[in-house]
């Protein structure tokens, strides 16, 4: 998503920023740090704006060089976002953030979109955060369930088969079986709401009867 938005932004004055939430970085990914990395991307591309510079100078004069508090960071992000004609903020795997940080982030994002009508936010996560999204964004949000189609699964399998490290173990018949059986099986599993699309490499033959 980020790449295509970035490709498009070359034609117009559009900022595309984003972050990936990660279980392994939960404590480092505080709400302030997450908003900070969004702002960091604006600074990295657009240079240091006056309001950011001013906040930095003020913080530096404080005891030990103070970090920003969440409300201050949010204000900086809001001001920056509002200065762009269009902004896309992409945040992946919301459910991997600590619940408190995730809630604070969603509330912060709500504040950002309220003040910037041309800002769009793209979020992904597991269904466990659905209720929070609905409660915080209400009618500002649309929600789409994601599951791979048979065609998606076939494309994935073709690539996996193409990078098989033991091609001698494969023949046309087995290959055809894999491409026929696995998409069917996974589709059946989806109906039962228990599908896990095998994104990572693995022994494809495990999925074939």
């Amino acid at each position: 998503m980020i790449d295509h938005l970035c490709d498009q932004s070359s034609e117009r004055d559009i900022a595309v920023v984003g972050l990936y939430c990660d279980f392994l970085s939960q404590h480092e990914q505080s709400t302030t740090n997450m908003l900070g990395v969004i702002l960091k991307q604006f600074v990295n591309v657009g240079g240091v704006s006056e309001h950011v510079k001013q906040a930095f100078e003020t913080a530096r004069k404080g005891f030990g060089g103070r970090c920003l508090r969440l409300p201050d960071m949010l204000e900086l992000v809001k001001t920056t976002v509002a200065s762009w004609p269009q902004v896309f903020i992409c945040i992946d795997a919301l459910d991997e953030a600590l619940p408190k940080h995730m809630l604070d982030l969603l509330r912060s994002l709500h504040g950002i979109v309220q003040g910037s009508p041309n800002t769009r936010i793209f979020l992904t996560g597991r269904a466990i955060v659905l209720q929070e999204i609905k409660e915080i964004f209400f009618t500002r949000a649309v929600i789409v369930p994601i599951s791979p189609t048979k065609e998606d699964i076939k494309k994935f399998l073709v690539r996996q088969l193409g990078s098989d490290t033991e091609p001698d173990a494969m023949d046309d018949s087995l290959r055809a079986d894999i491409l026929r059986v696995i998409p069917e099986r996974i589709s059946e599993m989806q109906v039962g709401k228990s599908c896990v699309f095998p994104i990572k490499s693995g022994p494809l033959t495990n999925y074939v009867a």
């Binding site: 790449d3 900022a15 972050l19 900070g36 657009g46 597991r126 964004f137 599908c195």
Partner: protein
């Protein structure tokens, strides 16, 4: 004004912020001004570029294209009344949910659907 500061830069620098992030990080270590480096460090210790490059490399072209044709996506991508049905409703937030591994992270965006560019 912050606004003027950001808009005054060349449009080619305005863009691809996420993709250029790692390039700029390299620049930071090889000589961009010290104050900017300090400010970047002060803003956040997080560096999402590595994860992004990993996602780019793992992505499979064409997977998830069905998503681009959903009404929800089209409305979200619209500048004003995205689907042209006259109701004026444009959602600002699009949330895609699903089990781990279904491909949420790898969804792609069609260039012709961006903010009313249909």
């Amino acid at each position: 004004m912050a606004c003027n500061s950001l808009r005054s830069i060349d449009i080619t620098d305005n863009i691809n912020s996420f993709n250029s992030f790692s390039t700029n990080i390299v620049n930071i270590t090889t000589g961009i001004d010290d104050e900017k480096r300090q400010i970047l460090e002060w803003l956040s210790p997080l560096e999402p570029n590595q994860r992004h490059h990993s996602v780019r490399n793992e992505r499979i072209d064409g997977v998830g294209n069905w998503f681009l044709e959903t009404d929800e996506f089209r409305k979200w991508g619209g500048a004003s009344d995205g689907d042209g049905d006259g109701d004026g409703y444009v959602p600002q937030v699009l949330f895609c949910y699903g089990d781990p591994g279904v491909g949420k992270t790898y969804l792609r965006y069609d260039k012709n659907l961006l903010l009313g560019n249909e």
